[in-house]
Symmetry: C2
Subunit: 240 residues, 2 copies
């Protein structure tokens, strides 16, 4: 595998325009392509695919790239097979995965990314790069034919990670509790990404970057802090 | 249908023992049975089925009922068919639903409840009484064969409802946004239950009770406040 990915927790941080906090990184990620294929399928409503593309384009203009939505192609599978850069935006992970299955894009995407296509994922777009989507925070508003996803990285991702949700009196589970519960049923380790943090993957190197450290949740082990700026030790993250 | 249910947002409210805030109601709900069949399958770990049953029993003792876990029976389907009272506790809705499918209990439960068996659900246990679980807040840590559930009530439930999650800076969707996104893909209306609130169902009457009002989310309509103490207008909640 010849990976070249940036998997971000979120597409924007508070008070700054869409994707702008990743600008320097994205100029490097997409340096070998003029065009970026945009996959907007996670978006459930409120904003049309066209408006969503416009929002992405507004950013890609600033790094002199053309953002082309996959919805513009009669043969989306072919569009994936031929592109040199992909951006999958956030929204609802179930909706995104269902659409990718319905359009028979899973294998094409996985294959393209494993062969070096530059890939940016934010939130749901990052989630689908794991073996499955069982650590998404999203509401299951549609049912994809399965939870298995692209299987690019040897861990699964929990975006928008927060230590404590809601107020103290709330009886719902905290995020950490949810991830620990996930590990009672699954062995793939979880990389939990706070907002403002991302994973930059170059070949075999997976590096945590951005504002905050990330957290590694594994079966029968203490939570490990993955310091920002440092490489992840993948011997520690492969599922046993 | 001859319904006799109490569907609660949560099993406990802050600072009070398990189920105790529902004591008066549960004495009435279960007045015709001495035994309550407990379904603990939503619990993913941290607490064993035995410990979970002990916790439920500690409450049921206070209203002079015997709490018998379904896990004690060699033929759980038969246990469902013969019981006069059921309590399904909270935990993870995906895990609960998967287990109910795996054990072939869906039809038996649905049938029993529709024929008047007293039923208490909290959180995940309430969630499964709708047509499907697409408005659960839980993490999809396992994949049930389908999202369709018991289909007892003509709406779906969102337990632990909170208007605003996380801090203002957090980019994750608020609960209301999630429920509106659900409605872009589904037509079944949602009854959103804040903690401390429940639905008491008696025959054809569905009444909101407890501390706070509930909220009705429907396609192409404004959110309706369902006042506590009042009957729900089901003409307003049936899916079109």
């Amino acid at each position: 595998m010849n990976l070249n990915l940036l998997l971000a927790s979120t597409s924007k941080v508070y008070d700054s325009p869409y994707l702008s906090y990743l600008k320097d990184e994205l100029e490097i990620l997409f340096k070998d392509t003029k065009e970026v294929l945009f996959i907007p399928y996670a978006r459930p409503g409120g904003i049309s695919y066209t408006d969503y593309t416009r929002k992405a384009s507004a950013f890609f203009d600033t790094i002199d790239k053309t953002c082309v939505p996959i919805t513009a192609f009669d043969y989306p599978r072919q569009a994936v097979q031929q592109t040199k850069g992909i951006f999958t935006g956030g929204g609802n992970t179930f909706l995104l995965l269902k659409k990718l299955y319905d359009l028979d894009l899973i294998d094409a995407l996985s294959d393209r990314i494993k062969h070096g296509c530059a890939y940016l994922g934010t939130s749901a777009g990052s989630n689908i790069c794991g073996a499955h989507i069982k650590t998404t925070n999203d509401m299951p508003i549609v049912q994809p034919q399965q939870f298995e996803a692209l299987g690019i990285v040897p861990y699964v991702i929990n975006p928008h990670f927060v230590e404590k949700q809601e107020g103290e009196k709330h009886q719902g589970e905290s995020r950490s509790t949810r991830l620990k519960e996930y590990l009672t049923q699954n062995k793939e380790p979880v990389v939990a990404l706070p907002e403002g943090t991302w994973i930059r993957i170059n070949g075999d190197e997976h590096r945590i970057k951005g504002k905050h450290s990330a957290y590694l949740f594994q079966q029968s082990k203490e939570i490990v802090v993955l310091e920002t700026g440092k490489m992840m030790d993948l011997n520690n993250t492969r599922s046993q």
